[in-house]
Amino acid sequence: MSLFSKENGAIFTGPLNLNNPIAVQVLGICSALAVTSQLKPAIVMGLSVTVITAFSNVIISLIRKTIPNRIRIIVQLVVVAALVTIVSNILKAYVYDVSVQLSVYVGLIITNCILMGRLEAFAMQNGPWESFLDGIGNGLGYAAVLVVVGFVRELLGFGTIFGLTIIPEGAYMEAGGLYINNGMMTMPAMALILVACVIWVHRAVNKEENK
């Protein structure tokens, strides 16, 4: 099978849309609520999950035939934990402020349902290249939802995008305008409602496919 065959393309694009880990499988919600109050940590989190899912998929797929079936979850966890530690240290070294904002949620990628789900459901049965594509696809599908939610929350909650002020100063009530930032957007509760909206739109658009 060639590297970029149709089947492999479907493995990659499936999780981006019709099999999206958040919008369709509703996995990995906890971190999606916790890290999306601003756009930058949301993007960093999405990329971290993408990298970890892709490489843990590859590693597990390479050693899948030698893993004893009874202890496979432990082996998977060790691989994921090692990768999470590497990513966490890289973040601390190069984007320290974002890693502080993400706090424990980078470490908690170990328990992310998307990761365990892909390892169990895909990497244990498929070759390394397919697993790699599947990991990238799922990670990016997760990241896409995070970016949408992070964008809305930062814009309406803080009036900024990437820390740059978008809403003009004069519009605020302190300056005599009418506008106030929505404090609810900075809370995780609103992130849940926004994720619900994403799922709603997604289902409305893909009505035929779901039937």
């Binding site: 009530m173 009418l178 106030i180 929505n182 404090g183 609810m184 957007m185 809370m187 509760a189 409602i193």
Partner: protein, 377 residues
């Protein structure tokens, strides 16, 4: 005239609107079936909603006058007449009512048309409650946003009127409270903003803090206990007057709309908790324990919010538990949580969650009791 509006008719796009108007003005044809056990009868909710609106009238009228009265106090205008104060309040509150109805009913009619269902009339009450539970300075666009949020996410996603878990008016207030805290609490929001621009300016030493706000800040209450009963204190538009709310409560109980059990048990729960849980020295704070029941939104919440038949328990014994816990919880939040001077909203929303559980427990225990009785025979 009707065929024009039914499916395929010329004006079918306005079918929901027509249907709403038709049942609003005429009595619908359905009545409760005589057979079978039914928890509630088929009285059209427009009839009960009509009485709730009537019961709200004293609170609305008093709220209008109080807006003007507080404004006159703030600008130091002693000789303002009752009518002057009243008209001033009317001018302030009317846009809020219009916005709340326009947004809420607009969404409801759109959804009904889209799903090809009847328009439900529950919003007539919600739309009137929303302006009454916000501070007078709340900007209109914020009210519109919060109303839209609550109608969509607290009501329509659950299936519309009668299906909601939470009281939509309270969800509106909760959204405002968490999203725009600077608009919902503090000293600046309770008296109309225009006094800032008026020629006189505010008089020295004028404070527009609510009694609960003063208590949360550890200060003595300036309002006399009698003022909190009559209602001449700053506060959300409809909540200040204990007397006006009690007139409403009498109308509701007389008409059989609201459960007197819920109202009474909420007050009992609140009174018991207030007696044991105090802010501190009653003398220095000028705050006797019973005043907990007359300040803030306690009375308004107990009479108009907790009794919402959709979100309260249906079992009679459950209503007692529901009310007692609301009253107690509201006082606990007020006294023990320094972040929230007022606890009524959160207490009712919390108990809304537990209402189905309370019902389940009582229905189940009743079933068990009867099963045992049947087994003995």
């Amino acid at each position: 005239m009707k065929p024009t509006f039914t499916e395929g008719g010329k004006l079918s796009a306005f079918g929901s609107l027509f249907d709403a108007m038709e049942t609003f003005f005429y009595v619908p044809n359905e009545t409760a079936k005589v057979r079978g056990a039914q928890i509630h009868d088929a009285i059209d909710s427009k009839r009960s909603i009509f009485f709730v609106i009537i019961a709200l009238i004293p609170a609305i009228l008093f709220g209008m006058w109080n807006i003007g009265y507080q404004h006159s106090l703030a600008v130091g205008c002693q000789d303002a007449t009752i009518w002057c104060n009243f008209l001033y309040g009317l001018a302030v509150i009317l846009p809020k009512i219009v916005v709340s109805y326009a947004v809420g009913l607009g969404i409801e009619i759109a959804v009904a048309q889209w799903k090809k269902e009847e328009v439900h009339e529950g919003f007539f009450v919600t739309g009137m409650l929303i302006p009454l539970i916000v501070p007078v300075n709340c900007p209109l666009w914020i009210i519109a946003l919060a109303t839209a949020f609550s109608v969509i996410f607290a009501k329509e996603v659950f299936g519309g009127t009668g299906m909601n878990i939470f009281n939509p008016a309270l969800v509106t207030r909760a959204f405002l409270f968490f999203a725009y805290p600077s608009m919902m609490s503090g000293d600046k929001v309770w008296v109309n903003a225009n006094y800032m621009d008026s020629i006189n300016g505010t008089i020295d030493g004028y404070s527009a803090a609510t009694p609960l706000g003063q208590l949360a800040a550890g200060e003595a209450v300036t309002a006399a206990p009698m003022d909190t009963i009559i209602g001449t204190i700053p506060g959300s538009i409809g909540e200040t007057s204990f007397v006006a709310i009690m007139i409403g409560a009498c109308i509701l109980i007389w008409a059989g709309i609201a459960s007197w059990k819920i109202i009474l048990s909420t007050f009992v729960g609140g009174a018991v908790m207030a007696y044991f849980l105090r802010y501190g020295d009653a003398e220095t704070l000028n705050f006797p324990w019973w005043e907990q029941l007359t300040v803030g939104g306690f009375a308004f919440g107990a009479v108009f919010m907790a009794t919402d038949p959709v979100t309260a328990p249906r079992t009679e014994a459950g209503k007692w538990i529901f009310g007692l816990l609301i009253g107690a919880m509201a006082i606990i939040i007020r006294v023990l949580n320094p972040g929230y001077p007022e606890g009524m909203m959160l207490a009712i929303l919390l108990m809304n969650v537990f209402a189905p559980l309370i019902d389940y427990c009582f229905v189940q225990s009743n079933i068990n009791k009867r099963a045992k009785r049947a087994a003995i025979k």
